[in-house]
């Protein structure tokens, strides 16, 4: 039964349109830019009417950047692969470490548990630059500088606190008695964790994984300092478009489109899953 008046619906429609415009405009503009040459992008006044070109994408995919000063080799696809690998591996490691830890913090009250959990969260308070300088020196001495392993390790500073605190909340929302009921029915602690706690916290784990993936993907400063060209993710790799003969706006835009595409797709897909999971998994009583 429709209870809203037409005026109310109209106003609501306008408000939603405004919000969408506000948030979507930069993305739409960048998508448009990525199909233009530097000249059409920089013309005054700007216009949405242009002859689309795929040359920005071709340049990125082939790795040959044509500039006024000549051809430049870039490794954008390599950067994209690095981003994907670093983020995925970091989230995987973060989940393996963080989910059991979150469960422990949620269920077992041990001495200092709150302090440890808070310390882990405090990693998110400190500006990354604060830890980067000493970290660089240690990493060089340990031989971890410019290795995937080292980067994934540092990425835990971003990923682990997020996973830990989000998943912990989800575990705390599961009534402990559901797990007790399963344990008393003849199952041990480990299978209860696997068969009851993990599935019930599934939406939370997915949300935490997604969010930390995006945070890891968007990280710039750790990779900038600790990785050299062949290990760099897209965020750092994009610096290559700032060339001696000017900034290659078209390629930058195409690069952005390519680099936000995976996280965008992931978010769209997981959003459906999250809503579904939250309403299905709602535990009454």
């Amino acid at each position: 039964m429709e209870t809203t008046s037409p005026v109310e619906r109209l106003l609501r429609g306008i408000a939603i349109t405004l919000v969408c415009l506000f948030f979507m405009f930069p993305i739409v503009w960048i998508v448009l830019m990525s199909f233009q040459t530097n000249e059409t992008i920089l013309r005054v006044p700007p216009s949405v009417i242009f002859a689309p070109t795929l040359e920005n994408y071709t340049a990125l995919i082939t790795g040959k950047l044509e500039t006024a000063a000549g051809t430049l080799d870039i490794d954008f696809m390599g950067n994209l692969w690095n981003s994907l690998f670093l983020s995925t591996a970091s989230v995987a490691v973060g989940l393996v470490l963080g989910v059991p830890a979150a469960y422990a913090f949620a269920r077992l009250k041990f001495r200092g548990s709150e302090d440890i959990a808070f310390t882990l969260l405090s990693f998110r308070f400190a500006p990354p630059l604060l830890v980067l300088l000493p970290l660089t020196i240690y990493f060089q001495q340990l031989g971890l500088a410019n290795t995937y392993g080292g980067l994934i390790w540092v990425y835990q500073l971003i990923v682990l606190p997020l996973i830990l605190w989000i998943v912990r909340g989800y575990f705390e929302d599961i009534p402990a008695d559901i797990e007790y009921a399963y344990r008393i029915a003849g199952h041990d602690f480990w299978s209860t964790f696997r068969r009851i706690a993990l599935p019930l916290a599934g939406p939370g784990i997915a949300a935490a994984g997604l969010l930390s993936f995006i945070f890891a993907w968007n990280n710039f400063v750790f990779a900038l300092v600790l990785a050299s060209a062949d290990k760099q993710p897209v965020t750092v790799g994009a610096l290559a478009f700032v060339t001696a003969s000017g900034i290659q706006y078209g390629q930058v835009a195409a690069g952005i489109v390519l680099s936000i595409a995976p996280t965008f797709a992931l978010a769209l897909y997981a959003q459906r899953y999250l809503v579904e999971g939250l309403s299905l998994g709602a535990v009454k009583g």
Binding site: D177, A181, A185, G281
Partner: protein
Amino acid sequence: MTIQLSLKSVDKFYGPVGKGVHAVKDITMDVPKGDIIALLGSSGCGKTSTLRMIAGFEAVSRGTIELAGKQVQTLPPVRRNVAMAFEGYSLYPTVTVRDNIAFALKASRLAEAEVARRVGHVADMLEITDILDRFPFSISGGQQQRASLARALVRDADLHLLDEPMGQLEPQLRTLLRGRIKHYIKERGLTAILVTHDQTEANALADRIAVMEGGVLQQYGSPAEIKERPANLFTGTFVGEPPMNVFAATASVSGGMLTFDLTGGLDLRYAESAFDPRVRKMVLDRKQVMIGVRPYAVHRSESGAAARVVANQWLGDQSHIAASFAGKTIVLVEHDRAHLTEGEPIKVEIKPQDLHIFDPTSGLALSHGNELAA
């Protein structure tokens, strides 16, 4: 009589032993095989803590728990072989009611046909056959509670723990199911512990009732024993509806009459010969006592002591009359409709065999009617 469960000096502290909250204090009790025991008490009295220690969800701070002949207090829940119905139902939200009930049976590798037969039987008994294929979130609280109860009762465990198993049910259904559950448990020779704050439920279901308060086991006995011979003032006033009337009294004897002088300027006088000599001696030795009398044992009589009606409620099958008496209120129950109005003077009589006498400081029972308390 085999002892199925035996608690010996069990303590529960939340926090460090000796310093934390002392939730369960030195409980010792034996549960014979095949009995239904009710843990009765108000909220926070330690009954659920006791139950959870038996199940293995709470560590036992001190003492031992023996189940089916072996010490279990340090074993994980999975190795204790107990079944439990939870107060919060705790059904697995991802599977149907049928699978919830069958879960433990499937894990124990019972033949599928046998699992189906037993689930069907217990669902029939609890009137949940029509919701077996629904998911827990789509059924009502009362149905969830019955599903949770079915999940516990369907199992063959050494001990069945039922935590407030019928709190959410409508009164008619509760009465019906009480009988069926008792029959089911007895027929299969199960041993069960029921946690409840509903004394009707405890009386109807249990062979023995353990009354708890403040973490202490106040009394452990049959429903009749608890009603007729309450061990102390707490059980006396906690069990029984409406509660026992209690008055402080000073006892004296003169001219062959034993007199209880109730503080409030009213005397209850009895012929000395109405009391057993030992009871009489005990009362006179003590002088200061608390006397308790059940509302059913207070009668209106021309020769009684003066009281004045303050309230008169007809409950459909009995009258509850409250009257001011000896500076306090006395409640009496009559089976017929009493035509009394507020402020009307009445006379009440209490027979000597209906008096429960308690120690005013410790609250322990001293005598019940003409018998000394053990």
